[in-house]
Structure formats: C-alpha cells, structure tokens
C-alpha cells in the first residue's frame, strides 16, 4: 500500500462548540421530484460527518447547496457563520475559498498539468492566504497525497486513484476550514479505497478540518465518521455514530448496512 508523508493514525477529532454548518428546513426540488424536503443538520467545528443513503437520494445536491452551486428552494443554510442566501457573488467566492470541495469525478482541469491544477486556486486567491513560495506549497500538497512525482503530468495521464488524490490535494490547497468530499472512494479498487480513506483521515488530522463525506463505502464511514447521517425521503432520517447505526433496528437502516 502506498504510504504518504502523513502519519496515518485515525483518531477522534476534538469537537468544538461553535457550529461550522447549520442547516434548517432545507428544501430542494427539481420539477415534481422533491429531493430535499425538510433537511436539518448542525455540524460542529472539527467534526467529521458522513452522509449516507441510496443513490440519487440527494446527497450530492446537499453539499452543492452548502457550497452555493445549487440554490435551495427554501430553508436556511449557515456556513462558517454566514447565511449563504444573503451573500453576493463576491462574498460567496470569499466563503468558498474557506471550503474545499472534492468532486466525485475529481473534475481536474484537463487542459492544465497537475501543477497548474493546484496552482489555479492559489493564483486566484485575492487575499493570498498562502504566503511564501507557491511552488513549495504545491509540492507539499502533492507530497501529502504521495504524488510529488506527478507534478508535470496531464490529468489524462493519471489513473483513477491518482486523479482522486490530486482532486483531494487541490481541494485542500488553500488550507480550508471545511472540506466536502463527494464519494471519494467510488469506482476504486478496495486497496486504493483504503489508501484514500487513510489519506483523508491523515489530512483531517493534520489540518484539523471539518468534513462532510458523501459515500456508500461502509469502511470509510466506519473509519472517518464522528457521526453518520442517513438521508432518506429528503430528511436526515437517522443519525448517530457508526455503532449506533449498525445496531439500529430500523428496517431501512438494517437493509442499507446489510446486517
């Protein structure tokens, strides 16, 4: 298994009292298809929340609402103390710089090298949060994901696992306070999935981030989650620790975890 620079020891994240994300009565529909009906969730600083649920249930819609890519139909959404719906474009951009987003498809800019992909958010950060040598920072980000040697490769030259790692490195390049992972292990073999899981844990430990991880990977959920939220029928149907959910007697939950 590929080792990275990080000391990969899963540990419980210290949970502070101030909420990083507060979602109240969130609603989102596409035509007659109600995706989020009355979704409520509060995530504390430093907490790692895994959102699970069947495919197409609205998990990705949820995190896209959090980052402002999709506008909700109703409800309130406070991220790092700011009401998303009240922000103008510039304020939203400022907030987004404090949030990392790791896409399911990695969404690497395919006309740019790995270096340019990582450089892009740094060059466009008006507040220059990352001071000092940009090249050194990019190399450190790549070392964190064990891919420093891939710095000059194009995305088309990378394997699926490598693309995920670069996607994670890019999502974390501005040292965000919150990281949203959209199915980070989907489509990968079990060994690479485990590597990505350990990578996420190591990075969370190193940078003390708050995370929402959308996944169907029960191993990832077990290892990464302080809390698991089960999304069903547009609401946070059940939530609790991994052990609480795995021992839950609700038929839907039992069926999902295949006990």
């Amino acid at each position: 298994m590929m080792k990275t620079e990080l000391d990969i020891i899963p540990e419980t994240v210290t949970v502070a009292s101030q909420p990083a994300i507060e979602i109240e009565h969130l609603q989102k529909s596409f035509g007659s298809n109600v995706v989020l009906r009355d979704f409520n969730l509060t995530i504390q600083n430093g907490e790692n929340v895994v959102v699970m649920g069947k495919s197409g249930i609205g998990k990705t819609i949820l995190i896209k609402c959090i980052i402002g890519l999709i506008k909700p139909d109703g409800g309130t959404l406070h991220v790092l103390g700011q009401d998303i719906s009240k922000l103008d474009h510039r304020e939203l951009d400022e907030l987004r710089m404090r949030i990392g987003f790791v896409f399911q498809s990695s969404a690497l800019y395919d006309s740019m090298t790995v270096r340019q992909n990582l450089e892009f958010p740094l060059r466009h950060d008006r507040h220059k949060r990352i001071t000092g040598n940009i090249e050194a920072h990019i190399r450190e980000a790549l070392r964190n994901v064990g891919l420093e040697h891939a710095i000059d490769l194009m995305p088309s030259e990378l394997s699926g696992g490598m693309r995920k790692r670069i996607g994670i490195a890019r999502g974390l390049i501005l040292n965000p306070e919150i990281v949203l992972y959209d199915e980070p292990t989907t489509g990968l073999d079990p060994i690479t999935s485990e590597e990505i899981t350990q990578l996420i844990l190591g990075l969370q430990k190193k940078y003390k981030t708050t995370s929402i991880i959308i996944t169907h990977d029960i191993d990832l959920a077990r290892e990464a989650a302080n809390r698991i939220v089960f999304l069903m029928n547009g609401i946070a149907y059940k939530q609790g620790t991994y052990d609480e959910l795995i021992n839950n007697t609700d038929l839907e939950i039992k069926h999902f975890f295949k006990r």
Partner: protein, 264 residues
Amino acid sequence: MASAQKIKTVFSKTLDDFFYGIAELAQFSVNVFKEGIKPPYEFKEVLNQCYEIGIKSFVLVGVTAFILGLVLVMQSRPTMIEFGAGSYLPAMSSISIVREIGPLVTALICAGKIGSGISAELGSMKVTEQIDAMEVSGTNPFKYLVATRILATTIMIPVLTVYADFISLIGAFTGSNIKDDVNIHFYFNRVFEALHYTDVIPSFTKTFFFGFTIGLVGCTKGYNSKKGTEGVGKAANISVVMSMVGVIIIDMVVTQITSMLGYL
C-alpha cells in the same frame, strides 16, 4: 388536418427555440459586460486566448485567403479583358477583398474553427464539472472563461482580417502574374489608389462585431450545454450555424448602413 397541426406545432417550436436562443444570447451578453468590467482582470488569460484563437488560426486563414485572392483574379480576368477593363483588375480585386471577401471569409472560417472549438471546450468543461470546480475554488468562471474568450475573439478577428486581406492581395497579384507580367510596385500602387477610407473603415469596423458574435455564440452554447457528450456535440454544431448566420446578418446590416450613408 393532422399534418397541418403537426406543421403548426413544429413551426411553433422552431419559433420558440429561435426567440429562446435570442433571449439566451442577450442575457449572456449582459452578464459578460456586467462581470467583465469588474476587477480583477484576467489579462494573462486574454493573452493566452488571443494566442489560442488568433495565432493558431494564421495558417488556415492565410492559406484560404491566398487561394481566394488567386482564384478571384483568375476567374475575373477573362471577363474583364473581354470588356477592355483588364487594367482595373488590381482595383477590382482590392475593393472586393477589403470590402467583402477578406472580412467575411475570415469570419466564416473562424466561426467554424474558433466558434466550434470554444463551444466544445466549454461544453466539455461543463459536463465534466470543471466549471463547477472553478466556481467552488472562488474563481468566477464567467469572468475567467467567458469574458476572456469573447474579448480575445473581438480583438483577434480584426487582426486576422487585416492579415487575410494582405495575403489575399498577394494571392491576387500571383493570379495576375500567371497570364501577365505585372510589376509588384505597379500592382500595389493601383491597389492602394483604388482604396478609399470609406472602403476600409466600415469593413474593418464590422470585423469587431463579427468577432464579438463568434465569441458570444460559442461561449453561450458551450456554457449552457446539457445532456452529456451528446449535448456538447449539439452545442458545437449550433454555435457554428448561429455564428455563421449572425456574421452574414451583421454583414448585411453594415452594408445597408454604409449604403444609406452614401459610401457605396
């Protein structure tokens, strides 16, 4: 009766699509101006796009322009000689090329090459979530991807047109020399004598509108493309058709205005 109803439905849908397309373009151009004028400005990306869009089209535009100039003279020469107007060949070719052939052919080539390229590129970025990735990293994709490309086409189409005019005139000179022995100084003297500022200014001005239209249509169709790779293909296709039609309509309007002002 049923077929009449069907025709009515198809006609109605086509009309809807047409007005929807116009509204989409209008809204997009308002956003381009709104976002494009706000700092920070993406000068580096504009230069990069000028290179990608303009410099990389020089060979195609040059070859086409040379052949068109050559063919124009070879086709016109027998008729003009027949009417005893052989000596007007340089004047005829310069006015035709500068007023119409140079700008129009350059714009049509660029509508095909650049318009489809922009549309396909932005469409692919859209369906592979690269535009979303740009947005979540705090960069305004409208400013970075769209405004820069439209500015680049608006700058580079006039540059390419001037270049195409020049190459086309060389082609015309070469065409004249196939059958006759024409001195280059004499030829270009006659070319520039025949040209008036009323030929040059309207034809140069319209190229900015051509460039803006090609960029705007390519970006609008690419940025708004849907339905995966099929949507990207359709967007590229529609953008070429719409750009070409747009260029021809602008050409007609500018010619009409020039005529009304008494310059034709």
